[in-house]
Subunit: 615 residues, 2 copies
């Protein structure tokens, strides 16, 4: 089937169901950042291969919403498909819901929209449904892709899962389950405090809770599955093929029952008592499976939308996880040292592209002990490409890199010990424009200000965001992405609930949270500069000068890699900042050099040389 | 009647109404910060004269909740009253609602609580009612104080109101009404866009909308009244005694109808169509007056809770209002210069108390052109008293001030031209402890960082809060109050919706907003240091370095008064900070000195002398 045939098949289904429109949102049932190809319904239906987009199909039109990163690609891939491109980054572009409520409404008297409830979180579905109800539009839960995507649809991955040792995780499954159960029990309002269940659908939460890992998704070592946690049992819903005898022993040992992946809906329907779910993550189909019907003795179940206690606890890394992060950071620092040495000394003996650099960096990282895979697709943005925030070079479409100008390199690794994510921007050669030095230094000053901040317990990331921006703001410069995201431990490179962003976020920073610290400046067509470390929240010592009972927090910098000091405008740096930089470079050398050979050590020593005021 | 007799009379009423408890929240019907004595029901019932508190009376107990500012006073004033003091600043103190839902619930099978709906905002009432409904407790709207407080109850003030010239206000009533009507019309969802009304109960909103002022409340030049604004008329509900012939002419000229204050309820009951109200301000009794019953042609009214468009517009000062503020600031600066000169050169020729200083400052302020009254009760906190954030000395209870140690002085004026609010902390004599200099300098650096910030349009105050705290945070010090509050124009010294606080606030800072910039450090028993300017948001020039389409904002400092430079620890100051301080002092001298005599000018010149780096 080609795209036109797929659309025709979908419309036949819509007609049968009495639907005026069908929406394919480009999600999976687990609210994943990276999806298994089985769930790439939007891509299959449209022929557009970008990572983000929403398809809307009506009886006579087909539209695809995507953001500015993908305009070019979508333009090419949607050609001759009859699908109209909706440029959602443009100010005058209506949202999917607006378009459906408005434009579509005019031409139809009675409207029903179809959506697959597995592809919407409970909260998103509720918001949509309310919006449509106001406009007199009904929403029907129905999967119309399944009946038509029968040929060539990739299966859900059946790779084996594996136990993740408590030596790395720092806590046994038994201990985690007991802690979660205690937390849930305290949230049950009825007398029967043991009469509860928690539905878990986020793959990183399941991996953390059960100390398991897998290969089902690129960049994230997770296992496609659901979990239902009850007072007296814990059930993992997963394709049985994924479990070998070692895994089976492990699950048995931990009293974890296994049921087939698809059995989760029926199982949920049979649950009674208080049923907890995190509406931001759990999909609407799971929620709809809950038996809400009343019985003679009152309603059978009480569904309760809560922030997942797994999410909250997973974010606070324990001492073993943090020690693992430190080990991974040394490996990562060694890989980057080797890469930058190669880049400076060897790379340009022949022509090089951004793709070559990405491959070479991967090669160096893969040498690291306990390296598993990259934690996201490396961004190697040369000159103007560095200014494209989500730039992703491919082997076919990438720029040649020369021994001059600016290179932005954002990359990370999944190690058994932990997850890394680092950005360094370096000058490859030629005269450095003064504005480039200024930009680099504003970014660096903000980057230092955030990771050296001290703050009272209770402070949220959005309160600290301006610390990283204040210097560039004074110069009339800002950037559009978050300053920091949460990071998992050998799990998602992006995780909640903590972050450092402009938007209000109610989550206070807590000891053990890991966040990135990555301000940037982007000059379209010229260069992009971003400097990123991972940092973790630690208790700060009480000072004698304190006036309050507050407990104090600060950050420990985890990432271990030098900065390109040739780009620093020293006149803008304070003594404190230079002292911090020098101390950091001493530490980088001390921690990374034992992993290097002599030549590499010499290179690193040169890069870590102390700066002096007035230099 | 004494307090015991009042409680007995209330209980008789409660018994008659079948109420298990009655709550007196210490509010007025206009959600005012400062109340007319007519509404001091909590004070009358309890005998406690603090400004803040909530009374709960049950059939056998009486309790008063108040915060730590008033523990001492309440302890004395409640003695022998049978009223139990609930210390609401203590961590283990239940809230009023918690106490009623919990402790009271145990002893009563069926419960109903009485409250006067005039004393609760719609939003607060709703929250309470829901909380009580969950606990199986009913809430009855009833005023039980009116029938028992018959003797000696102060009348609602009948002072005359007066027109406030558009020469000061910068906009005519006609223009304001037209703008508000346009805004409301756009919010009406039905076809009949003229079929709406806005209920206004906040006194500063009424004063701003109708360009009227009055004398009904201390510190705030407002008129006790309600307004109902419709497409074709505007009605002011006010005691007719308050209107003399000039005012009547003014109101007639502006087509403002007048009805008696109490007539508002019946008038609201007669309204049809969309009825807008700001549930954060409008009291529950007004809301209950809306006729929500259905008619044959569908429901009679649609009540819609919105943020008051008057609140939003009032906060954005026009050019005339801002010019007025600048004029008032010169007057204020002159008054403070005279005061500090007197303090340094004459005051201690005889013993002085904090109260003496407050009176003397009032004297100097009252000399100012267009001065009307103070904008709040002056805080003169000597030594350890400065560390009590809401310290209020009285003539009877105040400390002696000597020519040594620290004095915190927070005061402000209402001028026809605008409202001022300024805090300066000065050292009166003796050796300055090093910690005092450090504290003063951390505060000053934060105070400068906030008022010199540049930021993109859309930035909220809570994003900037950390800029004012970052230096003291590094020293492990913080403070518990907001860093900045909105300020009215010849109206409330505290107004919304903008502020600079730790708490998330969705309101972005906008051009014309006035806020205070007042970080502080408080050492119990030693000293309090606070430094406060009023600043207004202005557009910032686009820089050549900018990378985005963002519009940029910054602040103009309005307040004109020198800082005590003897308290500055110069080693902590950057060159930029010293440059700012010197430029500010040059400006203070230039703008204030024309109002001074020669001796005063000499004093001011000395106080404004330039500092040099390394001093």
């Amino acid at each position: 089937m080609n795209v036109k045939e797929r659309l025709a098949a979908l419309r036949a289904q819509m007609h049968e169901q009495g639907l005026a429109a069908y929406v394919v949102p480009g999600n999976d049932p687990h609210a994943s950042e990276y999806m298994a190809s089985h769930w790439c319904e939007m891509q299959w239906l449209s022929g557009f291969n970008g990572e983000s987009g929403t398809m809307v199909v009506t009886l006579d039109r087909a539209l695809l919403w995507t953001d500015s990163r993908y305009y070019l690609q979508a333009g090419i891939e949607l050609k001759d498909s009859t699908i109209e491109l909706m440029r959602e980054s443009d100010i005058d572009c209506p949202s999917v819901a607006e378009w459906l409520c408005g434009e579509l409404r005019i031409t139809n008297d009675e409207l029903r929209i179809g959506v697959n409830p597995e592809m919407f979180s409970v909260n998103d579905f509720k918001e949509w449904k309310e919006k449509f109800a106001e406009a007199g539009i009904g929403v029907k839960s129905v999967d119309l892709i399944k009946p038509i995507w029968t040929e060539g649809r990739p299966a859900i991955p059946s790779d084996k899962l594996y136990p993740y040792s408590a030596d790395f995780a720092g806590e046994t499954v038994e201990s985690k389950l007991a802690r979660m159960r205690e937390s849930l029990e305290s949230k049950v309002e009825s007398q029967k405090s043991k009469d509860y269940a928690l539905i878990v659908s986020a793959l990183d939460e399941i991996a953390w809770l059960l100390n398991i890992r897998g290969y089902d998704v690129e960049y994230n070592p997770v296992v496609i599955s659901y979990v239902v946690l009850e007072a007296d049992k814990c059930t993992l819903f997963v394709n049985p093929e994924k479990i070998d005898s070692a895994a089976q022993n492990y699950l048995d040992f931990n009293n974890i029952n296994v049921q087939p992946y698809e059995a989760v809906f029926e199982y949920i329907h049979g649950l009674r008592g208080t049923i907890f779910y995190d509406g931001a993550k759990v999909n609407e189909a799971l929620y709809e499976a809950i038996d809400k019907g009343p019985s003679d003795q009152g309603p059978r179940t009480k569904a309760k939308n809560i922030q997942s206690p797994i999410l909250v606890d997973k974010a606070k890394k324990n001492a073993v996880e943090l020690e693992g992060e430190r080990i991974a950071m040394r490996q990562d620092g060694a890989a980057l040292t080797r890469f930058f040495k190669w880049l400076e000394e060897e790379a340009f003996q022949q022509p090089r592209t951004e793709w070559d650099l990405m491959e070479k960096l991967h090669e160096f990282r893969a040498m690291g002990e306990n390296f598993v895979e990259e934690s996201f697709g490396t961004i190697a943005g040369y000159q103007g490409n560095g200014a494209i925030v989500h730039y992703a070079a491919t082997k076919e479409h990438c720029a040649e890199v020369k021994k001059e100008g600016m290179l932005l390199l954002d990359s990370g690794g999944q190690y058994l010990d932990g997850t890394t994510d680092i950005t360094r921007t370096v000058w490859l050669g030629g005269r450095i424009p003064q504005q480039a030095k200024l930009d680099y230094t504003y970014v660096l000053k903000g980057h230092i200000a955030l990771q050296t901040a001290r703050f009272p317990r209770g402070t949220r990331g959005n309160q600290l965001d301006a610390l990283a921006k204040q210097y560039m703001w004074q110069a009339g410069i800002t950037f559009g992405h978050g300053t920091g995201h949460g990071v998992g431990h050998f799990l998602g490179c992006h995780e909640g609930p903590q972050n450092v962003r402009t938007d209000n976020n109610p989550t206070p920073l807590e000891v053990g949270h890991i966040i990135s610290d990555e301000p940037g400046i982007y000059r379209t067509g010229q260069w992009g500069i971003r400097t990123e470390n991972l940092i973790t929240v630690i208790p700060a010592k009480q000072t004698k000068a304190t006036t309050t009972e507050d407990e104090w927090l600060t950050f420990e910098t985890l990432t271990l890699c030098f900065y390109d000091t040739s780009l620093i405008e020293m006149n803008l740096m304070t003594e404190d900042e230079i002292d911090w930089l020098n101390a950091y470079h001493v530490r980088v050398y001390k921690e990374v050099s034992p992993l290097l050979n002599e030549e590499e050590r010499k290179f690193l020593a040169r890069k870590c040389a102390a700066l002096e005021v007035g230099e």
